[in-house]
């Protein structure tokens, strides 16, 4: 990064290099640079909070309006897969934290190990999400032309869910409102999954860079900031898990 700016300045590269190569030319010190990018990352996460905030608002209002359809629709989600995914994500947050630590103590081997583990957990999460979405597809619970209210007007037709919750059948108009739940479910988990995919992409990029020793020179800002992003995506999931899966179990 810094090299390109040094060249852009037209000055001989050596003259600019009293400071470490990763320090950008417009910062007075490495500490200022680390501080600044860190602060920027927190601000970026704040915008993400506002972004998801809009979805959460819509969800809470709709849930208040259509309480029973939302409860019944929520029963369609698999607690098993949800819990498994939560565990996977928390584990990945742990390995990510360890990756940041490895970068700080400059251990390239452990850094690579933990980054790869985080990547694997990320893939597992997306895989499980895929299984869950596929199940919705099979039951025609994806909003759109093929949406079916069968499981809600006639709960017995869906024995797996019925034996657990014994939901009373919903009247046809209320059953139609379950589509709102699934719309928001897909919007929220989809937006979350998109963040995961972006995270996985950056992880792969980081693994390549880490192999050439990029993060074990004492300049760990990038890893640290990515860690913040990863933990943030994890926290969003915790809220989704509580609001979409757990909220209707008593």
């Amino acid at each position: 990064m810094s090299d390109s700016t040094a060249i852009a300045n037209g000055a001989p590269a050596e003259a600019q290099h009293e400071h470490p190569p990763y320090q950008r030319h417009h910062f007075a010190s490495v500490e200022q640079q680390a501080d600044t990018t860190n602060f920027a990352m927190w601000l970026f996460l704040l915008t993400e909070v506002m972004f998801f905030g809009g979805l959460f608002t819509a969800y809470l209002i709709m849930r208040n309006w259509y309480y029973q359809p939302f409860v019944d629709a929520s029963h369609q989600l698999s607690i098993f897969w949800g819990t498994a995914n939560t565990a996977v994500l928390i584990a990945s947050s742990f390995t990510m934290a360890m990756a940041v630590w490895s970068a700080e103590v400059r251990r390239k081997g452990t850094l690579l190990l933990f980054l790869c583990l985080t990547l694997v957990f990320g893939f597992i999460f997306l895989g499980i999400k895929g299984i869950e979405w596929h199940e919705k597809w099979e039951k025609h619970h994806i909003p759109g032309e093929h949406y079916s209210v069968q499981s809600f007007v006639n709960p017995q037709s869906d024995p797996e869910v019925y034996k657990e919750y014994h939901d009373a059948p919903l009247p046809a108009d209320a059953a139609q409102k379950t589509v709102e739940y699934f719309f928001l479910y897909f919007a929220m988990t989809g937006m979350h999954a998109l963040h995961m995919v972006i995270g996985v992409g950056i992880l792969i990029f980081m693994i390549f860079r880490a192999r050439s020793g990029a993060y074990t020179t004492g300049h760990v800002t990038f890893v640290e900031n990515f860690g913040l992003y990863w933990h943030f995506v994890d926290i969003i999931w915790i809220y989704l898990f509580a609001l979409l899966y757990l909220i209707s179990r008593h």
Binding site: H26, A40, F44, T47, I61, V179, F183, A187
Partner: protein, 555 residues
């Protein structure tokens, strides 16, 4: 006009533009497209927003031409709907929101706080690309047949009833949102972390304060608009309703989410303009801005209050009486910090050594027109009168007084004020004074009749109207042609001045800001060495001492 002037140009027979500056540093298209230099990115923005301004302006011209006669004579009603929608979308999202922050803010912020660049130069460059991509998407939409929802995308109209290009417009605004998030984020980080030694918070120029406040709004508001538009697009593609009542959705929810951004957005548009006015008023009355701290905090107060008034756009949309009451009260409160600014600028003028160069003329225009715009805002914030006035031309006039009379005046004021810094050359003074006066006259002719039209009950957003409104509409259209000349003039003489303008020297206005203490156009690194701020903002005595010292050392 008095002969007094503070313009201080170097001897033209010997003066030269410095050979080494940010414009001449590197050549070639790529050196611009891949630059990290905030001044070059600001230049890119300046060119692109001017382009969009003229597209939006042409559409405004079409609107006024159509309204010349009571019948739909120039275009069909649905074409008219598309024209005013595109006018709104382009002017709001592609001109007003980025106007001052992305151009002047980008250019000046680092220099004003004594830094070499914004904190995140690559993010800064990254903010320009979404803007351009989004701009092309908007133009594509227009070419492909346009969109006719109005810039407010009211649901369920936008989600189910209209057969126009809502999706591509929505996505264009979504993408443009990234641009303003990145800019806002960059400014906040820069102001927190990049100030030079001695530059405390209360030594910052007020321009920096107001951009800081606007940045907070950008960072907190824009993501909400983004998710709202995503939901509209999803709703339209998948035919599910979060917002459409026919499918069990809630159109009021859309209004809440949309105005949660779009009301603060008007403060995003106006606050940076207020910053420009603070700088200009101080410089051309040779006085420190009266009540510096109050003006600084009033910017922050506007940003904070700005987030709690959005429902005043919804008084007739079925929110409860109690909500209307509270939001009406909160709306009145926003008038307080805005009034603090106006009063303090006025008091700055009091006993100042005022000179009337172009930026100051525009600033006067701002103060008058913004005050009218702001006060009519109080009419609209009062629930009783709002029911009568909303959805009429009164709203149109109010909004244009604040945005065109306020923000555009401030933008032009700032462009003239910092033009010598940006290009190293002066614009021609006499003709630009003329342009400022023409703009002011044309503006009043255009928009003042619209207040009366609104009071008389002429609804907005219709291509045809009852014949008794024609006289005032003719006034308005005639004014628009004058206004158009007022905007064409600057682009002509400013372009002319790039080659033929007088060489401006470092500090053409004898202003105190750090940006004036370096060469014009500045070096890529802004300063030969990082400055140390050893005086308060707007300290004209300090400037005098500095100049004396220089003369002494040269002599």
């Amino acid at each position: 006009m008095s002969a007094a002037t503070i313009v201080n140009l170097p001897d033209q027979s010997t003066a030269r533009i410095p050979k080494m500056n940010f414009l001449t540093k590197e050549n070639g298209l790529l050196s611009w497209l891949l630059t990290g230099d905030h001044k070059r990115i600001a230049t890119l923005y300046l060119i692109s927003i001017t382009f969009f301004f003229f597209i939006g302006g042409a559409l405004a011209g079409l609107i006024r031409l159509e309204l010349l006669t009571p019948q739909t004579s120039l275009m069909a009603a649905d074409t008219y709907n598309k024209v005013f929608t595109m006018h709104g979308v382009i002017m709001v999202f592609f001109f007003l929101v980025p106007s001052v922050p992305a151009t002047l803010g980008n250019f000046l912020m680092p220099m004003m706080i004594g830094a070499k660049d914004l904190a995140l130069p690559k993010v800064n460059l990254l903010s320009w690309y979404p803007y351009i991509i989004a701009g092309f998407m908007a133009i594509y939409t227009m070419a492909a047949g346009g969109v006719d929802t109005g810039w407010t995308f009211t649901t369920p109209l936008s989600t189910h009833y209209l057969n126009t290009h809502v999706i591509s417009t929505g996505l264009a605004i979504f993408v443009a949102g990234f641009s303003s998030i990145f800019t806002g984020l960059n400014f906040i980080v820069t102001i927190h972390k990049m100030r030079c030694p001695g530059m405390t918070w209360f030594r910052l120029p007020l321009f920096v304060w107001s951009n800081y406040a606007a940045s907070i709004l950008m960072v907190l508001g824009t993501p909400v608009l983004a998710i709202t538009l995503v939901l509209v697009v999803l709703e339209r593609t998948m035919h599910i309703g979060v917002f459409d009542p026919a499918f069990g959705g809630d159109p009021i929810l859309f209004q809440h989410l949309f105005w949660f951004y779009s009301h603060p957005a008007v403060y995003i548009m106006i606050l940076p303009g207020m910053g420009v006015i603070s700088e200009v008023v101080s410089t051309f009355s040779r006085k420190r801005v009266f009540g510096y701290t109050a003006v600084a905090f009033s910017s922050v107060a506007i940003a904070v209050f700005g987030f709690f008034v959005w429902a005043h756009h919804m008084f007739i949309m079925g929110i409860s009486n109690y909500a209307a009451l509270i939001f009406s009260l909160l709306t009145m409160l926003v008038a307080v910090p805005s009034a603090i600014k106006i009063f303090n600028w006025t008091f700055t003028l009091y006993k100042g050594s005022i000179t009337f160069e172009t930026p100051m003329l525009y600033a006067f225009g701002f103060m008058g027109l913004f005050t009218i715009g702001g006060l009519t805002g109080v009419f609209l914030g009062t629930t009783g009168t709002d029911i009568h006035l909303t959805e009429t031309y009164f709203i149109v006039a109010h909004f244009h007084f604040v945005m065109v009379g306020g923000m555009l005046m401030a933008f032009l004021s700032g462009i003239h004020f910092w033009w010598p810094k940006w290009t190293g050359r002066m614009y021609p003074e006499k003709i630009s004074q003329l342009a400022a006066v023409v703009t002011f006259i044309g503006f009043n002719f255009t928009f003042f009749p619209q207040f009366i039209l609104g009071m008389l009950g002429m609804p907005r957003r219709y291509a045809a109207y009852p014949p008794e409104f024609q006289a005032l509409n003719v006034f308005s259209t005639a004014g628009a042609t004058i206004l158009g000349i007022g905007y064409l003039l600057p682009i002509i003489y400013l372009t002319w001045s790039l080659k033929y303008g007088a060489v401006a020297g470092n500090n053409a206005w004898q202003a105190t800001g750090l940006e004036w203490q370096t060469q014009s156009p500045p070096l890529t690194e802004n300063f030969a060495e990082i400055p140390i701020m050893d005086h308060e903002a707007y300290d004209y005595e300090w400037l005098e001492k500095m100049q004396e010292k220089e003369v002494a050392s040269v002599g």
